[in-house]
Symmetry: C2
Subunit: 212 residues, 2 copies
DNA sequence: ATTTGGTTTGACTAAGTGGTCAAAGTATAC
DNA sequence: GTATACTTTGACCACTTAGTCAAACCAAAT
């Protein structure tokens, strides 16, 4: 009766062997839905069509498995995010790229953002580690932002504000989907329509707000 | 070694007797930090300075206790939110009031918003129930919004978009504090400074973006 | 055919886990 | 004092949980 959770890396790309990937994918699904503390090794084994012992054989402990899932979840989100930072051109394109990468991530893996938020809520100290997986990102943002401000494309702002504003507008609605929908009395179609338009809405919204 | 969690209703205002309030406050602290599935009845008892049996005596089961905490957490956030909807005057004041109520809530109970997000992530079906605790809110928002649009104070938008934008900008940074801070390389003082300025930033940001 | 390496499995354990219960405490009314 | 109602407690239970382990399995190499 549970809603399906999309899985990363369905095509086997890495050094993991097949069974290991199956287990990791299963763990991914279970952890994303229930969080680390809510997930059960037995359920992961069932989901992977194997036994609990096998899960332990490959990942030794729940903690290590949780780490592997968390790390992979972050890497997947970062790949898209990072790529959209390398786009040249007007600042508007950068904004649109960042927003689009976040929203595409959410479309493909609906539970991912909420899962990461949950994990960071319970273990805030992991934020540092989490961010360190996007090398150069901070510097890249600072540079792009400074250039745009200097060129008069947007009014002055700090990297922290920029990140907060962009991430908020793109990620929050998905994390709080149920809440927002209930609050506004939106059915599923209404929500989909809104999300389909969200990239353009957020991009235009941000640029109007920050026009120099 | 755990960071302290602010407790609601420290003054005894309701029909609960004293021991019950102590237990509920303790449960509040533990649930907010660890989520329902991560919380342990024993820890709640310790935190309340009593025994597990007493906790069961007053609340029968973990589920009921979790419900009580969840409901009270929502009611506390709503009281502020709701009040700021009743303010008369220009739409700018409504926006500022809503943003301020959210940010004050976060300042006073840092883990509250993240906790609610976690719970809704794990049990999305509770969103309906959650929202039903703010009666009339939806209608109030629709009216205020329609009036503001008609008066030309802001450009046309939907209640869903309005709620998403306002809630995103005010709540997300707090939920993702660790992440944003690490991403922007902000120390504690830098973060505090940003949050102190956040109400005005978000209000002005939203109004610039939505100016008709 | 036998050895050798990795893999899979089911039975098992030890430490929690939420929850029960009857006995003991405690205040109040009679 | 004692009966009554509520509260508190520690011992206890059934069940779940992560994790172990040795035996069985299996494929490839010798």
């Amino acid at each position: 009766m549970e809603a399906p959770v999309a899985t990363l890396f369905d095509a086997n790309t890495s050094t993991y062997d097949e069974a290991e990937v199956h287990i990791l994918n299963a763990a991914h699904r279970v952890f994303l839905r229930h969080g680390t503390s809510g997930a059960r090794m037995q359920q992961i084994a069932n989901e992977a069509g194997t036994t609990k012992s096998s899960v332990h054989y490959y990942f030794r402990s729940k903690d290590r498995l949780a780490d592997a899932v968390f790390k992979r979840a972050l890497e997947e989100s970062y790949a898209r995010f990072r790529a959209s930072l390398d786009v040249e051109g007007p600042f508007e394109d950068t904004v649109r790229g960042l927003v689009a990468s976040n929203l595409e991530m959410i479309r493909d893996y609906p539970y991912l953002a909420g899962y990461i938020m949950m994990e960071l809520h319970q273990q805030p100290e992991r934020a540092q580690q989490a961010v360190s997986l996007i090398p150069g990102c901070r510097h890249e943002i600072e540079t792009k932002l400074a250039t745009a401000i200097e060129r008069g494309e947007i009014r002055p702002t700090t990297p922290a504000e920029f990140s907060s504003d962009i991430l908020s507008l793109s990620l929050f609605p998905a994390i709080a989907e149920g809440f927002v929908r209930a609050l506004a009395g939106l059915d599923e179609d209404g929500w989909k329509a809104m999300m389909a338009d969200r990239t353009e809405h957020v991009t235009a919204f941000y640029l109007r707000a920050m026009r120099a």
